[in-house]
C-alpha cells in the first residue's frame, strides 16, 4: 500500500483553494425573491374507478407593494431627523408617519385639512383659536387620537427638562406659556382641551392666520408618558416602535442606511395601497440618481444639472415644482457706495436675467422684481429693470462709482448650476465695471457672519417666501437681529425706507383686517422694487424624478421640505 505523502506546501495549497472557494461562494449576491406568484396548482384526485386530473385555478398571490425613495436627498432634506429639537427642515418624510393638523397644497399657499376638521378664531381680537379634530381618529396601535395628545405634546415641547432654553422661545406665544416653560406653573393656561376633539389656544398677540400645517401629531400620550421628559430628550427612544398617525407607521430604522415604514391600517383616509415605504439615505445626489436609474429606488430629488439627461431616459418622469424660494443678491448698506440708488439700479440693469433664465435654467425660473413670486403680491406698477448695460454704465458714471477692492460675491449654494450663475453675474458686472469674485462657503460659515451684516457687501442667497410677508420679517424688518452691526438691526443695515417697510411688515403679519394685510404686503413689494433693497433675480424650480412604475405620485419641493398633501395613501406600484 502506498502512503499518501502530505507536505506543508500541499496543505497550504489546499487551504488557499478552500479559502478562495469559500470567499467566492460568500460573495455571490443573495437571491432576492421579491415576488412569489402561484398561478396554477395541479391536484391529482385518484378514485377507484378512473384516474382524472383536476386543474384548480388559484387567484394570484398579491405582490408586496414596496416603494423605496430618497426622500431626504436635496435641499432641506434632513436624514434621520427624528428628534424634533434637532431639526428645522425635512418635514415631508415625517408626514408619512406623523400627520399634521393640515397639509399644504402643492403650491404651499393653501391649507388642506388633514387631522383637523376645522380651525377658527373665537375672539374678536384674534387671540383665541379653536381647533376641532375629525372624529374617530386613531393612532397606529388602535388607541384613540385626541386633543389630549396635542396638549401633552405642547407640554412636552415647552418643558424645560425636555427643551432646555428653547422651551421659553416656543411657549411664550401662548398665554401662561412662559411661566410654564420657566417651571413657575404646572400648566399652560392658554392651551385648553375642551373635549376629546376640541382644543382652544389663547395667544399673547393677535394671530390673524393660524398655520395649522406646522402642527404635527408626533407624540402619542399613551406611549410617551412612560418616559420622563429628560429621557425623551436624551433621544434614545426615537428608534422605538412608537405610534404613528400618518398613512404609514414606524417599522424599522437601520441607522445610516434607511427607515422602513409599513401601511397604517388605522389611517383616516384608509389603508395605503403600498405595503412598505422605505426612505433610503444617500450622502450625495449623484449616487441617488444612479440608484434611481438602476431601479434600486423609485424616487429622488434631482438637481437642475441632471434634468436634461434624465429626461432622455425612458421609464422616469421628472417632476418640476416651484421652490417657493426667491433668489436675489442681497446688498449690505453698511458699504457707503451701496447707499446710492444709481449704483443699485446699475447693478440690476447690468444683469441679463432673462438670458440667464433662458440658458442656465432652460426657461424654468420666474423672473422677480421683488421678493414675492405670487401674482397677488406683485402690484402692476413694479419696474421691470430690463437688461441695459449702457444705462448701467451711465448710472455708475453719474454716481462716480469706484471700488477700492474687488467685492466677494458670497453664497452657500455649492451646486454646479449656482456656480455657473455666479460666474455669469461676475461677467455681466465686470462688463460695466463692477468687480466681484464668487466665493462659496458652507452653511454654518455663512450663518455666522452674513445675517449680522459682517464682512460682506454682496451675497447671492435665497429666501423662502411662500408665506408672504411673514417670511420677509427676519431679513427686512428692523430690530430682528440684535447682534447685527451698526444702527439698523438686520442683515442689510439701514436701507432706504427701512422704517416704512418694518411698519408694513408688522401690519401684514398681525392685522386682523385681510385687506389691510394685503395692502401692506403690496407696499413692501413696491418699496423693495423701487428702492432696490436687493438685486432681485428669480424664483427657480426644483425637481424630483420618479420611476414610472409608481402611480398617483405627487411631489412638491416646498421650502424646508414642508409636508404637503401628496396623496401617498394612493401611491401604487404597477409593474
Amino acid at each position: 500500500m502506498t502512503a499518501i505523502k502530505s507536505t506543508r506546501r500541499k496543505f497550504l495549497r489546499m487551504a488557499a483553494l478552500a479559502g478562495g472557494s469559500l470567499a467566492l461562494a460568500a460573495c455571490t449576491p443573495a437571491v432576492v425573491e421579491r415576488t412569489v406568484v402561484v398561478e396554477k396548482e395541479v391536484e391529482k384526485v385518484v378514485t377507484q374507478v378512473v384516474e382524472r386530473t383536476v386543474v384548480v385555478e388559484k387567484e394570484p398571490t398579491p405582490v408586496e407593494q414596496v416603494m423605496v425613495g430618497a426622500f431626504d436627498v436635496g435641499p432641506h432634506g434632513c436624514p434621520q431627523c427624528y428628534d424634533p429639537l434637532k431639526r428645522s427642515v425635512g418635514y415631508w418624510w415625517l408626514t408619512k408617519m406623523w400627520a399634521p393638523l393640515a397639509f399644504w397644497d402643492e403650491t404651499g399657499t393653501k391649507a388642506i385639512p388633514e387631522l383637523a376638521e376645522s380651525w377658527e378664531p373665537t375672539s374678536d381680537d384674534g387671540r383665541v383659536w379653536r381647533i376641532t379634530l375629525r372624529p374617530g381618529l386613531k393612532w397606529s396601535d388602535g388607541e384613540p387620537l385626541t386633543m389630549n395628545d396635542l396638549r401633552y405634546q405642547f407640554r412636552l415641547m415647552y418643558n424645560p427638562e425636555y427643551a432646555g432654553e428653547r422651551a421659553v422661545t416656543g411657549a411664550r406665544y401662548f398665554v401662561g406659556g412662559e411661566a410654564y416653560a420657566k417651571g413657575e406653573a404646572d400648566d399652560i393656561t392658554g392651551i385648553k382641551v375642551l373635549d376629546d376633539l376640541t382644543i382652544e389656544l389663547t395667544y399673547v398677540d393677535p394671530m390673524p392666520i393660524l398655520n395649522v400645517s406646522d402642527i404635527y401629531f408626533e407624540f402619542a400620550e399613551h406611549f410617551w408618558s412612560q418616559f420622563t421628559p429628560a429621557e425623551i430628550a436624551s433621544g434614545q427612544h426615537y428608534g422605538d416602535a412608537r405610534p404613528c398617525c400618518g398613512p404609514f407607521m414606524w417599522s424599522r430604522w437601520v441607522k445610516d442606511q434607511y427607515t422602513e415604514a409599513v401601511a397604517n391600517p388605522y389611517y383616516w383616509r384608509g389603508r395605503p395601497k403600498l405595503d412598505k415605504l422605505i426612505n433610503r439615505y444617500f450622502d450625495n445626489e449623484t449616487t441617488a440618481v444612479l440608484a434611481l436609474q438602476r431601479g434600486e429606488i423609485d424616487f429622488t430629488y434631482i438637481g437642475r444639472d441632471v434634468v436634461p439627461s434624465l429626461k432622455r431616459v425612458p421609464g422616469y418622469t421628472v417632476i418640476a415644482g416651484s421652490s417657493g424660494v426667491a433668489n436675489f443678491i442681497a446688498l449690505n448698506f453698511r458699504e457707503p457706495i451701496i447707499q446710492d440708488l444709481r449704483v443699485r439700479q446699475a447693478m440690476i440693469y447690468a444683469l441679463d436675467r432673462e438670458k440667464i433664465i433662458e440658458t442656465l435654467y432652460l426657461g424654468t425660473a420666474q423672473k422677480l422684481n421683488c421678493l414675492f413670486s405670487q401674482a397677488q403680491f406683485n402690484p402692476s406698477d413694479l419696474t421691470d429693470y430690463p437688461y441695459d448695460p449702457e444705462k448701467a454704465k451711465a448710472l455708475l458714471a453719474e454716481a462716480n462709482f469706484t471700488q477700492e477692492a474687488e467685492w466677494e460675491l458670497i453664497t452657500y449654494y455649492s451646486d454646479q448650476l449656482s456656480t455657473n450663475v455666479m460666474q455669469a453675474i461676475q461677467k455681466y458686472w465686470a462688463d460695466v465695471g463692477i468687480k466681484v469674485r464668487p466665493r462659496t462657503v458652507d452653511v454654518p460659515t455663512f450663518n455666522s457672519f452674513q445675517p449680522i451684516g459682517k464682512d460682506w457687501v454682496v451675497s447671492y442667497i435665497g429666501q423662502s417666501h411662500f408665506r408672504g410677508a411673514r417670511d420677509a420679517m427676519g431679513r427686512w424688518a428692523n430690530d430682528q437681529r440684535p447682534d447685527a452691526l451698526g444702527e439698523c438691526k438686520n442683515m442689510h443695515g439701514c436701507y432706504p425706507s427701512i422704517d416704512e417697510v418694518t411698519a408694513d411688515l408688522k401690519i401684514a403679519t398681525s392685522s386682523l383686517d385681510g385687506a389691510a394685510r394685503l395692502e401692506a404686503t403690496l407696499n413692501v413689494a413696491r418699496t423693495m422694487n423701487a428702492e432696490l433693497t436687493d438685486i432681485w433675480m428669480w424664483a427657480a424650480e426644483r425637481y424630483g424624478a420618479v420611476n414610472d412604475r409608481v402611480k398617483n405620485f405627487k411631489f412638491a419641493p416646498l421650502p424646508a421640505n414642508a409636508g404637503f398633501y401628496d396623496q401617498s395613501e394612493l401611491w401604487e406600484i404597477v409593474p
Partner: protein, 323 residues
Amino acid sequence: MGRYFLRRLLIYIPVGLLVTLLVFTLADLAPGDPADWLYSPELNMTYEEIQAIKESMGLNQSPVVRYVQWLRQTAQGNLGYRMKNGDPVGPLIATRLKRTLVLGGVATAFGIIVGLGLGIYTALHQYSWFDHLSGVLAFLGISMPAFFVGVLGLYIFGLKLQWFPIGGITTPGGDPDDLRDFLYHLILPAALLSSNHVAGYFRYMRMSMLEVLHADYLTTARAKGMRERIVILRHALRNALLPVVTVIGASIPGLFGGAVFIETIFSWPGMGMLFIDGVNARDYPLIMGVTLVMTSVILLANLLTDIAYSLVDPRIRLETRSN
C-alpha cells in the same frame, strides 16, 4: 523592552492632550457652530430662537469651560453626545470604525496581495510587455482621484453591468445582518479603493526588487549553486520586502480614518463619512471623539512599528536613556 514601552506610553499622554487641545481650538476658531448648521439660511428663524438653540447646546459657555468639561467627561470614559442628533459618540465611533476597518482592511489586503505579486513579477520580467502595461495601469491608478474612480466604478459596474449594488451596506428592506448581502455591497467599494493601494505597492515592490536583484550577495548565492527560485524567494524577496513593509506599516493608521471619497460616493457609513459630517455640522463632541481615537491609533501604531523594527532588524535595539 517593557520599560521602553511604558516610557513611550507615558510620553503619549501629554502628546494626546496637546493634539486634542489643538483640534478643539481650531474647531472653535472655525466660523460657525452647530446652531449655525441647524437652520437653513432660506428660512425665517428669529434671533431669539437661534440664541436659545446656542444656549441649549452650551455654546454660550467659554471655550475653556467646554474643553475642560469634555476632558472630564472623556476621563470618565464618556466621549459625549452628538450635537446634531444626540447620538452617543463612543458607540457611534465603534460602529463606524468596524465598517471602515472592514472596507479598508479588505482593500489593503487586496492591494498587498496583487500589488506585491505584480511588483515581483514585473521586476523579474523587466521591460516585458506586461511590465509596461502594469506600469501604465499603475500610473493611472495613482493619478485618478478617488471620487472619479468611485463614480466611474459605480457607473460601469453598478449601473451598466449591474454586477454590484449602487452603494449602501445592506439591501433596504432586507435583513440588515445578512453577511452575504453585506459582502455583496462590500466588493465594489473595496475593489475600487484598493486600486490606489495596488498601484502604490506595485511600484514600491518593483523598485525595491529591482535594486536587490542587482546586489552582489545574489550573485554570490547563485555562484554557490543555489536554485534560482531559492535565490529569489529566500534572498531577494526577503530583503526587498523590508522597505515595502515600512510603507505598508505607515499606511495602517490611515485605515482607521476611513476613505472619505469612496465612503461618501458609496454611502458607506464609516469613519471618513462620520468625520466629514462632524466637521460640516461643527459637531464638536464628534470631532473631538474622532480626533482622540485617531490620535491614539496613530501613536500606538508608531510604537508598534518601532517595536516591530527591533524584532525584524537585529541591528536595531530599543533602549531607554538610562540603559
